[in-house]
């Protein structure tokens, strides 16, 4: 199988090879997917029994691709008298325009066939190679091929049809085609989701082709999305490209929850995590707040309606808890997996309150804060009533669903991410340090909302008192005195899990760090053991489990760094924040503006380029959001009352930077800045931020797409 081509619309997406064909096995993640279910696992085009060879693939948009093909097998390409174009767009299934061009002086007669089949696999089955329990059926119905699967009341169907006359059998569609010299033949193929989670949807695609060109709804909505976002201009071109890339990718990552049709929140990653995640949706919404606050609004409402309300060990649910992940596939439907939704995240709940407050600070939308008062109070109560698993007043996690639940419920969720300096792993429950920061911040912000919006000063006072008490205890119990940093976690017996990790940066962001300790923390973050020149490593070099390509034990995460920089800025370390922004933005250029989830923790001097960590999902929402948060941090954007305060601290190489029409409670405002911070990196490539002489080219308005 050659290169994978992915296109998507919400949680519907197609992964095919570079000739547009799909030949999936149960464990092979290709096909048409929607709501975590595969709706097409075989889609093979032949002409006179022959497969086609790809000449090129054009990714037109994230929802649209064009394949140029010629007949013939093997590597030598012999006959160019025919060429074939498949243009495919996703939207409630997919639509494919198949065109055959005859370049010869003679007419041709061809048999064109599309084979179609489906295994209706759940994404979880694709990952874990599990067998199906229901029955398949296929029928030809009114000129249309119906592929179906039934297990008890669970029914899923795919409908395949064409606009040109064809013979339909249970294995596919056959066209008898005659093409005159220098003429062409064309048909539209419709692959519709016939029956899904919403029942019989009738298989309507989200576009019609009466005119010359199918125009998916997504295209219209992308144009509006880009128009609504602030426009950026600066002397350093790579930032313009990265900004544009981030906006387009964020548009692709939009997901409309079933309960809120027409409203969008950020899904976690494309294509396998195109669903609502508590943590990822909240972090990405925070990053994008100055650019698109609607994402935060939908996230708050959707997570609010799904807030936990009872005890359920299978789903790790408690009253007040914010969900971790929602899934829609067969295994979730039959409760073989707990994702309906699953609540095994310990940070999403305090972060929910943090987002609600930050959202109000930007938008002034007190109406929503009032509407979500009960949810916010329940989330704050959860911190004290259900998260104190060690019995010491700290937020900790330990799963109750030991079969299919998550073992690590913080963002560093791999098995070896939380360790002692010498590499030992602590037991459960685990109270990681950043959770205490989030809980502190949630209480402080909850108090602000209680006073300002809910008009409950007694509650505000109580929260403030609790926050102050938590801060005092935390600075005593987590501080590793001989290293002058915060331990990554605390064990039940009070032992400090004393590895030095990037979590310290999140603590700065939360505000839980004592002023007297901030300098030491900042020094660690910028030390050679942590800062590689590209960014801050998840785990410091020299720690027992350090590995520059270990998922959470040495790699550099753009998302992590964006919050670390925000934290540094909060404590007044402007130059350090600018340095981190500069490193990650330099790295972004190597990925054409699309930051990966993580890259290697190797020294910048050593590799000269950031080594990408291999992951299946790209773009990843919170990596996409990272450049947006860096912009906020570098420009020093801060809502104070009804005003937007701008206090730029930009790396020198950026030169002049302007961000126009920043939306918020002030209406729209512009921010300008000039690069004055010496971020200490030396020129390596002409376009890096360390360069003394930045490119002076200027483009008008928004960067070209």
């Amino acid at each position: 199988m050659s290169a994978e081509v992915k296109i998507l619309d919400g949680n519907t997406f197609v992964v095919s090879d570079d000739s547009g064909d799909i030949e999936a096995s149960l464990t092979d993640p290709t096909g048409l997917f929607s709501f975590d279910t595969r709706f097409l696992s075989r889609w093979v085009l032949t002409i006179d029994g022959q497969r086609l060879n790809p000449l090129s693939v054009d990714d037109l948009q994230y929802f649209e691709t064009r394949f140029f093909l010629v007949p013939g097998t093997g590597t030598v390409y012999i006959d160019a008298k025919l060429s074939v174009i498949r243009q495919r767009a996703v939207g409630g299934g997919f639509h494919e325009e198949l065109t055959i061009l005859n370049h010869d002086d003679k007419p041709v007669d061809l048999e064109v066939r599309i084979e179609a089949a489906c295994d209706f696999a759940d994404l979880f089955e694709v990952k874990d190679d599990l067998k199906k329990k229901g029955e398949y059926y296929t029928r030809v119905d009114d000129g249309r091929l119906v592929l179906g699967y039934r297990r008890e009341t669970y029914v899923r169907e795919t409908w395949v049809s064409a606009t040109e006359a064809c013979a339909v059998d249970e294995g596919g569609l056959t066209f008898v085609v005659h093409v005159e010299p220098h003429e062409q033949w064309s048909t539209d193929l419709h692959v519709a989701i016939g029956r899904d989670v919403k029942g019989a949807t009738g298989g309507t695609l989200k576009y019609e082709r009466h005119a010359k060109k199918a125009r998916p709804n997504m295209e219209l909505s992308l144009e509006k999305w880009l128009d609504d976002a602030p426009s950026l201009d600066c002397d350093w071109d790579p930032l313009k490209r990265t900004y544009q890339r981030s906006l387009v990718d964020l548009a692709a990552l939009r997901f409309s929850p079933l309960s809120l049709p027409g409203h969008y929140l950020p899904a976690a990653g494309l294509p396998w995590f195109m669903t609502m995640f508590g943590r990822d949706s909240i972090f990405t919404s925070l990053q994008a707040l100055p650019f698109a606050s609607e994402l935060a609004r939908t996230t708050l409402v959707a997570l609010g309606v799904w807030q936990g309300s009872r005890h359920d060990d299978f789903r790790d649910e408690d009253p007040g808890r914010i969900l971790h992940e929602m899934r829609f596939g067969e295994m979730t439907a039959f409760e073989e997996r707990p994702h309906s939704p699953y609540y095994g995240s310990v940070d999403a709940t305090p972060l929910y309150v943090v987002l609600l407050d930050e959202y109000e600070r930007w938008t002034g939308d007190t109406k929503l804060v009032r509407a979500l008062e009960r949810q916010a109070r329940a989330a704050l109560a959860w911190i004290d009533d259900y998260a104190d698993l060690q019995g010491n007043g700290y937020v900790a996690y330990q799963r109750r669903n030991e079969k299919t639940g998550l073992e690590n419920q913080c963002w560093k969720d791999s098995w070896d991410s939380i360790s002692y300096r010498d590499g030992r792993l602590p037991g459960f429950p685990r109270a990681t340090c950043e959770l205490q920061g989030y809980a502190y911040d949630a209480k402080v912000r909850g108090a602000r909302l209680a006073r300002l919006v809910w008009k409950d000063p007694a509650y505000a006072e109580r929260l403030e008192k609790e926050a102050a008490d938590l801060k005092r205890r935390f600075n005593r119990d987590f501080w590793v005195a001989d290293g002058e940093y915060y331990a990554i976690a605390l064990e039940s017996d009070g032992s400090k899990v004393d590895a030095l990790a990037s979590n310290n940066g999140h603590l700065l962001w939360s505000g839980i760090v004592d002023k007297s300790k901030a300098k030491a923390v900042a020094r660690h973050l910028m030390s050679p053991a942590m800062y590689s020149g590209w960014g801050v490593r998840t785990l410091a070099e020299g720690q027992g489990r350090y590995n520059p390509i270990g998922y959470h034990v040495g790699t550099i995460w753009p998302y992590d760094n964006s919050f670390i920089a925000w934290g540094l800025r909060r404590y007044g370390f402007k130059e350090e924040a600018a340095r981190i922004a500069a490193g990650i933005l330099d790295a972004a250029e190597f990925f054409e503006g699309r930051l990966p989830e993580a890259f290697g923790g190797y020294e910048r001097e050593l590799t000269k380029y950031p080594v990408q960590y291999p992951t299946s999902c790209s773009p990843q929402a919170w990596s996409t959001g990272a450049p947006l948060l860096f912009l906020r941090t570098m420009l020093g954007l801060e809502p104070i009352g009804d005003h937007l305060v701008v206090d730029p601290a930009l790396p020198q190489g950026i030169g002049r930077l302007e961000l126009l029409d920043i939306p918020g409670r002030w209406g729209r405002r512009d921010a300008f800045g000039r690069g004055r911070m010496d971020v200490g990196s030396r020129p390596r490539r002409s376009a890096q931020l360390g360069v003394i002489k930045p490119e002076k080219k200027r483009l008008n308005g928004k960067a070209a797409q």
């Binding site: 008890e152 029942g199 079933l258 060990d313 299978f314 409760e335 979500l372 009960r374």
Partner: protein, 124 residues
């Protein structure tokens, strides 16, 4: 099959007094199928408080299923969202009202009073 146990609906209404469905207003109708018969229940949500009756206004959301499924979901033996995904329940209209309502459904009680397993395990 038997008729839907009315006390399950009354218990739900009672829980909404303690834990109201935040700020929601609307009417959800349960169409409980028993063979050819369809039994209708109106759940009227007013500022989060649910009242149950045989009659009500124009529904914003209609949930259809057999009485066994409604019984299982309302007594905490099955999860409502999973039942919807499975097609055992079908919701038409404003899905958000069903989402809000399901918060009032009880958890599944295990041996220690806490729920332990999912649908699949309880079936085997």
């Amino acid at each position: 099959m038997t008729d839907l146990d009315k006390s399950l609906l009354e218990a739900l209404a009672e829980r909404s007094q303690e834990q109201p469905v935040t700020a929601f207003n609307g009417v959800v109708r349960f169409d409980v199928k028993d063979g050819d018969r369809v039994d209708q229940w109106y759940l009227t949500i007013t500022k989060g408080i649910v009242t149950v009756g045989r009659e009500g206004g124009e529904p914003d959301c209609v949930v259809t299923g057999d009485s066994a499924t409604f019984d299982a979901v309302l007594s905490g033996k099955a999860n409502a969202m999973a039942a919807l995904l499975r097609g055992a329940l079908a919701a038409q209209g404003k899905f958000i009202l069903m989402t809000a309502l399901q918060r009032l459904f009880p958890g599944s009680p295990g041996a220690d009073g806490l729920p332990t397993a999912g649908y699949a395990e309880r079936q085997s």
